[in-house]
Structure formats: structure tokens, C-alpha cells
Symmetry: C2
């Protein structure tokens, strides 16, 4: 016997297919009697809801788009995996959209799939214009910014925020507590770019300890291993007296460790290095990298839950721009930091 | 003026929407006169085909599923990015399916989306049953195995093959050419698992050089940095006379370098290490890893082209199991290998 269709269930129950769909998804207003009739029909026909097929028959696709600059950047796959794990139990699927950091590519993705192929959009730091994201919302596809860096300064779009200023503060406090006074900073974005909050936390901790953060060497570098390598090499050549480097992300921190190795500066005996995020590579590098861990899985789960809420809500809450804040980042001490040399 | 729909174009041209769709996609049999009329209607109405929306209206979704064990494993994001780049120009999108190496999870994915949400399936080494893949084909969703490891031994399913036996041979020849005679092998799969061809190439090169490959230490290990680390540590502790390690993949090779560092064996002065694939981490590690590079982007493009051909073909070629072979892997010499110590 072929699998019964939604339409057959509807016919059997004497209702419209939309009503059957509403019952199955727990959406819309369906009276108790009608609901009972639909459930009886489902049982009688042995109907097994086949989520994607059913969704397609309704002209929509149960997918969520995740916009990233490049999935090959190692943090994003870890986040994507967590998102997919959160989507799967509800029969939703994950579409990966690589923008290559180009707003036009991002806009093309939003135009093409938001609201049609994808019911909602999760945005990592993909260099998208907020105007494009608002236009996407207005077309009926909710957007959630994942990993917003400033919980105290909401972006005016639904978001999951992580206190990255605190992350920078914790990293600096760790170095200061180990006796470091001459600490260089490598910031993996432009001066007012996305890593600014992390750097502000670093500066605040330095000032709180009575250190002159303004005098500390500072380089803005690409947020990559190579970027951190070049920045650290330049910084350590100019300032061989530094005993520690704070990097706003793990990849530049790993690059800084490589630069130290190439300059013959042993980590951590001669130079301590600390990063932020705690990607898998931080655990696997030698020496293993001390890092301020960010709650990646929690952020992914919150982002999916918020996006789903907005989808279910059908745009009624648009404009409210709800923000969820994750639990606090925390320091993970590994082998790349130790007491400052005398 | 609102964007005209496919139905309006069809009405204007006096044809069915299916005919307009066939013209747009270059599919089906459409006479020259009809074709001209449709194209005129498209021009007259200023119709811009909105691929995903149109596809959904036709009850299908222009997505391709990529089945991987875990997108967090660093080779897969590089491949996924290449796949997405190959899909995008044709208005297709990439769904990521993480199987966690579990056949049941893989089967659930195939059941749910192949042939409905996804028009075709690309399979990396995701521990799927071939029977499940054949069942998927029979349901009308073409399947392409990416990175099949044995071009001389086709799998009976459409695939893109890479000569991984040659990759193992090239790695071993490189070490032998540098004067190494006592070489250990770390194989990142079970004895008859997916890396067996790579190991066979290693053995063949050893034998061709008159070396006793059977006497060479050999450990089957998990295909991870940690797996390679533990295997190398065990091997080098038992056999401190080894001067080189061949690993069948880059992650175990990187782990072997870490084990050498922890044992105080300098790479490459005291121990040479070579891997296979040439992932980004191979370039970024210190010392940078010598590896046999596999044509990842080419394999992704061939896989997408083959899958698209099978989709366009509408299952007519099912059973033919076409195989495309990529260009040959090639050695990339970096800092982890040097002449054998005297």
C-alpha cells in the first residue's frame, strides 16, 4: 500500500490540507473536535508525516540558512555542526552560504533563498549590511545574528549575544596575574571592527591593574593564522622586551606562537600567548593554547530556538529585536601561558 | 509593478508553465517556434527567473546534500566550500548533513531529503551502506561518491576517484629518496578500511626500493590528530631508531609531529614526517608539513558536474555508474622532511 498523502488524510477527515498541516505542526487555530477528527484520520490511514516532502508540497522548504564568510574558517564548522544538531530533531536542515566577506554575495543569497528555500537566516560575522537583513525580515524571513559581541549595545535585530568584552578582560587578567607587565595586543579586525569589544576588555583590565594600556603595542591584523604571524613577528622584532601577547582570536594567537618559534622565543618560558574562543585547534596545538572559551554550542542552540520562535510567530514580533545572552565566557589555561620571566 | 510570475509568462506565451520551465532550464523537448514565443514573453514581461521560488512552486528544492561524518573535520569544510562554489552559478544550494559516522543517521538523512528537499546527494566518507545509497538512487535521487580511493576498482556507484595508492607511493618515494630506511607507517583507518590503498602504495614503493615493508612498524589509528599522536608516541617509544613516519592523512601526520616534539625528537633533523591530502593546516603547522596534495577543488567540481548530469538525465543512466578520475596527486615538500640522519 502506498504511503497516504496529506491530501488523503484531509479528505478522510473532511477538512482542508491546511488544517491537517496546522494540527501536525501545532500551529493556527484548530478546534478540539476538528483536531480529534484529523488525528483519527492520521491513525486510520497510517499517515507518517514526511516533513520535507510535506513542506515542499506546501511550497516551502524546511531549511535554515547559515551565512558565514567562509566555512573553511575553523570556528564556523564547529558552530555549523552545533546548529545542525539543534535543527535536526525538528526536521529542519542546514544550508551553508559562504559570502566570502562580500556584501553583494550576501545580498544575493538573501534575495534568492530567504523566505523561499529557507524559512529563516542565521548570520555569523558575514560582513552583511544591516539594511539587507532588515529587508529580509520585511520579506517575512526572520534573521538572527549569532555571536553578537556587545550584550550592552543591542543591534536592533534579533540576536544571541556573548560578552566578548569580558572575554578580553579575562584574558588580560590572566596575563597580569602571572606577573606580565609588557603585553602586546593583536586585534583581529579593524580599529572599530568586530573585535573592538574584546580589545576594550583587555584595555579595561590593564587600566584596572594600573598599567598603561595606551603604551602597550597594538596591531590590527587579519583574523587568520598568517595575520597573527605577521603581526607578532613585527611586534616582537620592534619590542623584544614583551613577555606576553594577547590576541583577540585563536587563529592570530596560533600565528603568534609560530612567529615566536621562528624568532627563537620559547613559549611560554620566554613569551606567553593567550587567545579567545577556544576552537579545537587551540587544544591540539603544541604548546596547547590558553584561551577564553566561548559557549559555542549554547549560542547555536539559543540562535536556533530564537529563530524558530520568530518563524512560528510569523513575523508578528518583528521589530522587537529580542536578544538572548549566553552564559559567560571562561578562561581555559593550557601550556602557552606561564609566569612572566624575571 | 510586481515581478511577473512564471504563470504570467506562460499565459502571455500561450503555453503551459511546464513549457516555460523547460525553456528556462534547457530541459525537455520544446519546438523552436514555441521556444521563441516563450523567450519573447520573458523579454516582454521583464521576467527574472527566481530559481528557488520557482523550484518550490514546482514542488522541488534546488539543493544538493553533502553527507559528511562531521563538518568540523578540517578537510570537509574545504571540500564543502569548493562544492558550494561549483553549485552557486546554477542557482543550487548546499545542505550539510553530518552523519557522525553513524549509518542510521545517514539513512535517516537519505530517507528524509534525497529526492524531495535535495535533488541529489554527494557522499564523502560518511560510513553509509551502499545498499542505502542504491535505494536512494532507485527513489530518483542520484548519488555521487566523492573521493573514491581506488580508480582501478570502481564501486558500482557513480563516483569521482582519486588515485590514493599513487599518493601513498609518492610519499614513500620521497622519504626513500631522502635516504630513509627505517620508516614507520600510521594508517588512519582499519586494516581494510578506506586508507588501505594509500598504505598499499607505501608498501609498493618500499618493496620497489628493496626495503622490507613487512618489517616496518605499522599502527592502525583513528584518523585524527590525537590518533596520530598516540600512535606515533607508542611507535617511537618502541622503535627509537625510526628516522621517518608516513601517515595516510594530514591530521595523524600533524599528531605525529606533536608526539615527536613531546619526545624531544626534532622534526625534521631527527625525524621526518609526511602526510597525504594537503589540508590548510599542513601549510600552517610549524614545521610546515610535507604532504601529497590531492586535487580537492577539481574533485568537487567533477562531483558537482557528474551529479548535475545524472539529475538532468532523470535517472535514465542509472546503473551505468560512471566514474571520473581527477588529475594525479602530487608531492608538496615543506619543512617536515629532510635527509635521513647518518
Amino acid at each position: 500500500m502506498p504511503t497516504p498523502t496529506l491530501a488523503e488524510v484531509a479528505r478522510h477527515a473532511g477538512v482542508t490540507p491546511a488544517t491537517v498541516s496546522n494540527v501536525l505542526r501545532g500551529r493556527g487555530r484548530v478546534g478540539a473536535v476538528t483536531r480529534e477528527r484529523v488525528l483519527d484520520a492520521i491513525a486510520a490511514l497510517g499517515y507518517r508525516p514526511h516533513l520535507p516532502a510535506r513542506a515542499l508540497a506546501e511550497g516551502r522548504a524546511p531549511t535554515i540558512a547559515l551565512m558565514v564568510t567562509s566555512i573553511a574558517n575553523p570556528f564556523y564548522p564547529e558552530f555549523a555542526l552545533a546548529v545542525e544538531n539543534a535543527l535536526r530533531p525538528a526536521g529542519q536542515f542546514l544550508i551553508i552560504c559562504n559570502t566570502a566577506g562580500d556584501p553583494d554575495t550576501g545580498r544575493a543569497y538573501l534575495d534568492q533563498i530567504a523566505g523561499t528555500l529557507s524559512e529563516g537566516v542565521l548570520v555569523m560575522n558575514a560582513n552583511l549590511d544591516f539594511d539587507d537583513l532588515r529587508a529580509t525580515e520585511l520579506r517575512g524571513a526572520p534573521v538572527v545574528l549569532c555571536m553578537w559581541e556587545r550584550p550592552l549595545d543591542p543591534p536592533g535585530l534579533p540576536c544571541v549575544a556573548v560578552d566578548f568584552r569580558l572575554a578580553g578582560e579575562l584574558a588580560a587578567q590572566h596575563l597580569i596575574g602571572l606577573g606580565h607587565r609588557r603585553i602586546g595586543a593583536i586585534v583581529g579586525s579593524k580599529a572599530h571592527g568586530i573585535h573592538a569589544a574584546r580589545h576594550e576588555g583587555f584595555v579595561a583590565a590593564m587600566q584596572a591593574a594600573g598599567l598603561d594600556a595606551g603604551a602597550a603595542p597594538l596591531i590590527y591584523a587579519p583574523d587568520t593564522t598568517q595575520g597573527g604571524y605577521a603581526a607578532a613577528r613585527e611586534m616582537l622584532t620592534r619590542r623584544p622586551d614583551l613577555t606576553a601577547i594577547f590576541a583577540t582570536n585563536d587563529l592570530p594567537a596560533l600565528g603568534a606562537m609560530q612567529a615566536a618559534a621562528d624568532l627563537g622565543l620559547e613559549v611560554p618560558r620566554r613569551l606567553s600567548v593567550v587567545g579567545i574562543t577556544d576552537i579545537q585547534l587551540a587544544r591540539e596545538s603544541r604548546p596547547a593554547l590558553t584561551s577564553v572559551a566561548v559557549p559555542t554550542v549554547e549560542a547555536a542552540e539559543l540562535a536556533v530556538a530564537l529563530l524558530r520562535e520568530l518563524i512560528e510567530d510569523g513575523g508578528r514580533a518583528a521589530g522587537e529585536a529580542k536578544m538572548c545572552v549566553t552564559s559567560a565566557p571562561h578562561l581555559v589555561v593550557r601550556a602557552s601561558t606561564s609566569r612572566a620571566p624575571d
